[in-house]
């Protein structure tokens, strides 16, 4: 360590943790005596250490260990326990408040291989607000709050639910195919929809079929949540035509414009 030629870098954490040798510590002390920047760095590092070390203990749910000990080895790791729990909770808690299972219009009948019935993704809770309760980050209540199903037709299972900024992302996997569902609080800003956006209706709600950077996304407004779905493979052009057959004399921009008005009215926002 050369206190005279450089600042302290990762010696600072070791200093804060009391992990330096006597010689190193002397060198650091000497440097700190004459370097306000490094003294501030020490204080900030102590703060960062305190943040983590003072976090409260995390308590297991009531009866967690008892159940585990009673059940022995538990389920196979191939079927993560939380997915199964989620299924049970969803069935028990949401029967009376979900939208019915809906088809995806003409899409379902013609979906390409590997594409599940996307309509089943739209069984969203009618009251979903998409504001994640910040004190509970576990999958089960968050997924249940959004009404995300534990599985999709075609062998897709919900494997992950994670936060990305303001968005929640659910990942469904089947074999090597992946479908992403992204839930974002807010409203679709219709005039930002790219050219080529098409419209379909699911259970009376409008859905945008959005081309974006070479892929097709499905975007829908549900309450105050924007639902974005990225499928395992792009929709074939023939399918998007079936969603919204070209109307002579009507440009894509017109269609998006009209869709926007309908969307806003449908949710009392227009």
């Amino acid at each position: 360590v050369s206190a005279s030629t450089s600042h302290l870098d990762d010696l600072i954490s070791a200093y804060v943790d009391g992990q330096l040798s006597g010689v190193e510590r002397s060198v650091v002390d000497a440097h700190l005596a004459s370097c306000p920047a490094c003294r501030a760095e020490v204080a900030a590092t102590e703060q960062a250490k305190a943040w983590v070390s003072q976090l409260p203990p995390a308590d297991p749910p009531f009866g967690f260990y008892e159940r585990m000990l009673r059940d022995g080895a538990g389920p196979s790791p191939r079927h993560p326990r939380w997915v199964m729990r989620l299924g049970a909770v969803s069935l028990a808690a949401t029967a009376s408040v979900w939208f019915g299972v809906v088809g995806f219009g003409t899409l379902d009948a013609n979906r390409p291989g590997g594409m599940p019935a996307l309509g089943s993704l739209f069984n969203l809770h009618s009251e979903a607000k998409a504001v994640v309760e910040p004190t509970d980050r576990s999958v089960e209540p968050r997924a249940a709050a959004f009404g995300l199903p534990p599985a999709l037709p075609g062998g897709y299972e919900l494997t992950e639910l994670s936060e990305h900024g303001a968005s929640e992302q659910a990942i469904y996997q089947a074999e090597d195919k992946v479908i992403s569902v992204i839930l974002t609080p807010g409203v679709v800003i219709v005039n930002r929809l790219p050219a080529g956006t098409l419209i379909d209706y699911v259970d009376g709600h409008q859905v945008f079929v959005v081309p974006w950077e070479g892929q097709i996304y499905l975007v829908a407004q549900r309450g105050y949540t924007v639902v974005t779905i990225k499928g395992p493979e792009p929709l074939a052009p023939s399918m998007t035509e079936r969603v919204d057959p070209p109307t002579p004399g009507r440009s894509l921009t017109d269609r998006v414009e009209n869709a926007g008005k309908g969307l806003l009215q449908a949710f009392g926002l227009g």
């Binding site: 538990g74 980050r137 900024g165 992403s180 409203v187 959005v210 950077e213 975007v219 990225k230």
Partner: protein, 178 residues
């Protein structure tokens, strides 16, 4: 990552006996759960991780080394966590596309509600955003309280790497929580 030493699953004669998982659950259940939660950041993965740790203990894959039982549990937990992280990395990863941000206006009330998160959740979130190897080093240091030599042994990395991972991990936390 392996849990050293594997051996034949039986403790040597002069080693302390492997604690039963009933004993671990009873005497160290909260500690184990806390370490697992700080590593994974959510209760579902935490419960899977705790289960995996207890299975490893029960299978006798890990010989109990005399010393701190909590240090020993931390090592098993961290290794099981990093094993799972590496397993997941082999799967196709899907990232959130830019689409929602580009299309969606976020309500200011929603923003305000989110910014009012309580501090422990903010810290946990920042912790989760650390790369797993850095997170493991920080958790072993600041949650478990291991010294750098113990962390180096647990993670099978040189002491200098421990030092830099902890420092860089803390720097990332500071940036995230600034």
């Amino acid at each position: 990552v392996t849990d050293p030493p594997a051996g034949d699953g039986q403790p040597s004669e002069d080693a302390d006996p492997i604690p039963t998982w009933e004993e671990i659950a009873r005497d160290h259940g909260r500690f184990l759960y806390t370490v697992a939660y700080r590593l994974t950041g959510n209760h579902d993965d935490t419960q899977d991780l705790v289960q995996e740790v207890l299975l490893r203990v029960r299978r006798g894959l890990i010989t109990f080394t005399p010393g701190s039982l909590e240090g020993w549990l931390s090592r098993i937990t961290t290794n099981a966590f990093l094993d799972e992280v590496r397993k997941r990395r082999r799967r196709p990863l899907e990232l959130v596309p830019d689409l929602p941000d580009a299309l969606v206006g976020v309500d200011s009330d929603v923003e305000a509600a989110r910014s009012a998160d309580r501090l422990p959740e903010e810290i946990q979130t920042a912790l989760e955003d650390l790369p797993p190897d850095f997170r493991a080093a920080v958790v072993l240091c600041d949650v478990v309280g291991l010294d750098y030599a113990e962390i180096a042994e647990t993670l099978a990395i040189p002491p200098g790497t421990v030092r830099s991972r902890i420092h860089r991990g803390r720097a990332m936390l500071r940036k995230a929580l600034a």
